[in-house]
């Protein structure tokens, strides 16, 4: 390892101020600090610092995503040929989704680097998450150019134009996902699912549930062959990483224990979803809308709700940033998700849109929480 350190140290002058590659200093910083913890020491109080840094934090998010990713790879293969073994299924999945992930990282990374060089900021580790999240929310058969176009839009419009990481209003991965969703609606309406087998184009559980007016959602879903168990484990056709509620719960555990994601957002999302769907259930007898009768458990395991609320809504930058705000933001997303699924049946998959709407509302939610905090302080002042 000494050799690598020496090599990097040898390159360092070229990337420092006055060096010939100074413009590409962010690239050097990235490579250098990926291999070695930065060597700088504290210059002022506090003289000691926690071992946590952005790399460790984002790496933990990746760890949390891994169960969903590996299960997703397996599931891609499983959907084509349930009979072959786990290894074959995983391999088939890797062959299908691997290139998507590579393209997402490569194209998005290029944009990231370009902006880092032009705007002279360091490359932020948050991109590691964005680059992985996007392919995981896409169906495995999406053409690679679409992935490239999506991640480009997500990184540039979703993040860099507003100032880069930390300044984005929307979750960049969701912006990318939404871009693909709206730009290529013929390929991605969310009512049909892809899988590797060409002849298999089935309706998603959400589409099935909404397909007949005046019916019973649960029996429609069940008769289409979707059981709660399969949907919970994720053994249904769907996006690369988003089908398994169990894997999402795994990720949720990692994120909550590590406190990288705020549990209030997830809890709020759950509360909002359950509340809204129970309300919908109460209204169901009075309406022809089948979706109204879908119970909370089904909302929970169907579609991308679990994946979205665990991995997407909890992005600390685009979510609300106050504790009370996080509850409101979570509940809002849960309610909106059910509302979109039930009332706006042009889009069966409500979670993506509800999180984006939640992102849009987050600054306003924070604004009011902030005013409340100010008022509370004023009250304490007045009591004196």
């Amino acid at each position: 390892m000494k050799g690598l350190r020496k090599y990097l140290d040898g390159l360092s002058p070229h990337f420092s101020e006055g060096g010939k590659w100074y413009r590409f200093a962010p690239l050097y910083e990235m490579v250098d600090t990926v291999f070695y913890v930065p060597g700088n020491t504290t210059t002022r109080a506090p003289h000691v610092r926690d071992a946590v840094d952005m790399k460790r934090s984002m790496f933990t998010v990746i760890l949390a995503l891994l169960p969903a990713l590996f299960f997703g790879l397996f599931n891609i293969g499983y959907q084509v040929d349930p009979g072959s073994g786990i290894v074959q299924n995983l391999l088939a999945g890797a062959v299908a989704a691997g290139p998507m992930i590579l393209v997402s990282y490569a194209v998005g990374g290029l944009w990231e680097l370009l902006f880092a060089v032009i705007r002279r900021h360091d490359i932020n580790e948050g991109f590691l998450v964005t680059g992985l999240l996007l392919p995981m929310t896409l169906p495995p058969e999406v053409p690679l150019w679409m992935v490239a176009a999506g991640i480009s839009f997500g990184v540039v419009i979703g993040k860099e134009v507003t100032g880069g990481t930390g300044y984005n209003v929307f979750n960049p991965a969701l912006v990318a996902r939404a871009f693909i969703f709206f730009a290529y609606p013929g390929d991605m309406t969310g009512d049909h699912v892809w899988s590797l087998a060409d002849d298999l184009t089935a309706a998603t559980p959400l589409a099935v549930a909404a397909s007949v007016e005046g019916g019973d959602a649960v029996s429609l879903v069940t008769s289409a062959g979707y059981t709660v168990k399969d949907m919970f484990f994720g053994l249904i056709p769907g996006s690369v990483g988003g089908t398994s509620t169990l894997a999402a719960l795994f990720g949720a555990t990692v994120l909550i224990v590590s406190r990288i994601a705020n549990w209030r957002i997830m809890a709020g999302g759950l509360v909002g979803m359950v509340g809204a769907s129970l309300l919908a259930n109460m209204l169901a007898p009075a309406s022809q809308n089948t979706m109204l009768s879908l119970p909370p458990l089904y909302h929970f395991v169907m579609g991308g709700f679990a994946f979205g609320i665990v991995f997407m809504a909890t992005d600390p930058v685009s979510a609300a940033q106050t504790d009370r705000g996080r509850w409101i933001y979570g509940i809002l997303i849960g309610v909106l998700c059910v509302m979109i699924r039930v009332l706006n049946q042009a889009f069966f998959e409500g979670i993506m849109l509800s999180i984006l709407l939640g992102n849009a509302f987050a600054p306003m939610i924070d604004y009011f929480v902030l005013r409340q905090n100010i008022a509370k302080r004023q009250k304490a002042y007045d009591r004196q």
């Binding site: 060597g39 504290t42 109080a45 926690d50 946590v52 590590s258 930058v317």
Partner: protein, 451 residues
């Protein structure tokens, strides 16, 4: 008595905690005084090199307040006056005499203290050079004698790493405590809030008169005076003045009046992985860190800090201990760059977060050095900094408003209640490696200048 229990915060578990064993530092050859320690005093010298001073003789006064002196902490000859940029006075060095001579100040016994007028108290404190132990918030500077506070705060429960244990200090010598408290009460004419730990057993504290007694419990910074002010008498605006005095300095005020001499002694702690003997040392004000550490083995490649590791300043052995500091910390400098540190399980990495294996063992067996352990990044509000700030303040938003230089919002978000030392742990835990407490300091400076 109600206990105010705070949950947020963190007690740094550093190696090298001082043992409760008091030693006397030897008689030093020279003392050093740094005018820079006295925030808010613009020094105007009253002595020249070569002159002789007694203990308690003026060295310089404040340009803004010519009655306010800083005096010599020892008797001897001024051998050097170090000047810095634009001829500002950086350091005054006194070669100590063999026998000490004192300036005489008015003396009184414990009972006659009550008959002292506040004007008389003020005069003696200003003249003797002990006034600067009284500091004020907002802005943490030497108190303005012309502006009485709405309250005085004394923290008798320091929670910063290695700071001296109050019960131990008082067990050794509590003279002057009650006198000092009574004097402060008389001087300020407003409530004196004495804050002790929930489990304090010191009779001199629990039976103290002329004070309002409070109990606090919780991890650091629960013992910081800024936290106490926030929960008891929050600072409403820039003119809402609160005074605060360190407990040992309260006793020094008392001793000044009881003995009529400038009190030179104080007890400090020596702690940290890089020193051999971690203990309590009785020193005199103005001693260099080298003198305090005399006879102690300091590890190679160690950083000496005047003050605690969270708020102190890096100093060399030749520098004096800061006027307000009660701790000498010695910690190892960073030992170079670790290969793929972010990827390791982290059994030996100290962290408040749950991202490393070391958390399972409560950071036992971890080592802390001066490394930053990461690259600076933009704000990503994971909630780390909120988890160590036991105040009704929203630090992420306050930091943003400071960076945006929005005075109006800073004031609304409570900037006047803030002090860099209360945000030191925020800097410590931030995953983006932002200098949060430094930003708070800059924000305070900005509102002071432009508000």
């Amino acid at each position: 008595m109600d206990v105010i229990r705070l949950k947020k915060g963190h007690d740094l578990a550093l190696a090298g905690k001082p043992e409760q064993r008091l030693v006397n530092a030897g008689q030093p050859a020279r003392l050093k005084i740094r005018p820079g320690d006295f925030t808010g005093i613009k020094p105007k010298l009253t002595v020249k090199e070569g002159e002789h001073v007694k203990t308690g003789s003026p060295l310089f006064y404040s340009k803004n307040c010519p009655d306010m002196f800083v005096t010599a902490p020892g008797a001897g000859r001024i051998v050097n006056i170090g000047l810095g940029e634009r001829r500002s006075v950086e350091e005054i060095v006194i070669d100590l005499d063999k026998t000490e001579s004192f300036e005489e100040f008015e003396r009184c016994d414990e009972r006659s203290v009550a008959s002292l007028s506040s004007g008389r108290i003020k005069e003696q404190l200003l003249l003797s050079g002990l006034w600067p132990v009284i500091r004020q918030r907002p802005f943490s500077r030497v108190a303005d004698p012309d502006r009485l506070p709405k309250a005085v705060f004394i923290s008798a429960m320091p929670t910063a790493p290695f700071s001296p244990d109050t019960d131990f200090l008082l067990y050794h010598d509590a003279t002057g405590l009650q006198t000092g408290l009574s004097i402060l009460k008389k001087l300020a004419g407003s409530p004196v809030h004495l804050v002790t730990a929930k489990n304090s057993s010191s009779a001199p504290l629990l039976q103290a008169k002329d004070v309002v007694l409070h109990h606090f419990a919780g991890p650091h910074p629960a013992g910081n005076v800024g936290i106490h002010i926030h929960h008891i008498a929050p600072i409403r605006n820039r003119d809402d003045v609160v005074w605060y005095v360190a407990l040992q300095d309260v006793m020094r005020i008392g001793r000044l009046f009881l003995k009529g001499k400038y009190p030179v002694d104080k007890i400090v702690t020596v702690g940290g992985e890089s020193v051999d003997q971690r203990h309590y040392v009785k020193i005199r004000q103005g001693m260099t860190i080298g003198d305090i550490l005399w006879g102690n083995k300091v590890g190679k490649n160690a950083r000496l800090i005047s003050g605690d590791v969270l708020t102190g300043v890096q100093r060399s052995a030749d520098d004096p201990l800061g006027f307000y500091h009660e701790t000498v910390s010695a910690i190892p400098e960073s030992a170079g760059r670790e290969f793929v540190g972010w990827f390791r399980p982290g059994l030996r990495k100290y962290s408040v977060t749950n991202l490393f294996l070391s958390r399972l063992l409560n950071n036992r067996g971890t080592r802390v050095d001066t490394g930053m352990h990461g690259s600076p990044r933009v704000i990503i509000p994971f909630g780390n900094i909120e988890s160590v700030l036991p105040m009704n303040i929203l630090p992420t938003f306050l930091v943003k408003m400071i960076l945006a230089e929005d005075i109006d919002e800073m004031e609304k978000l409570g900037i006047y209640e803030c002090d860099p030392e209360d945000f030191a742990l925020c800097s410590f835990v931030d995953a983006s490696k932002m200098e949060i407490s430094e930003i708070i300091r800059e924000g305070l400076e900005y509102v002071e200048k432009n508000g």
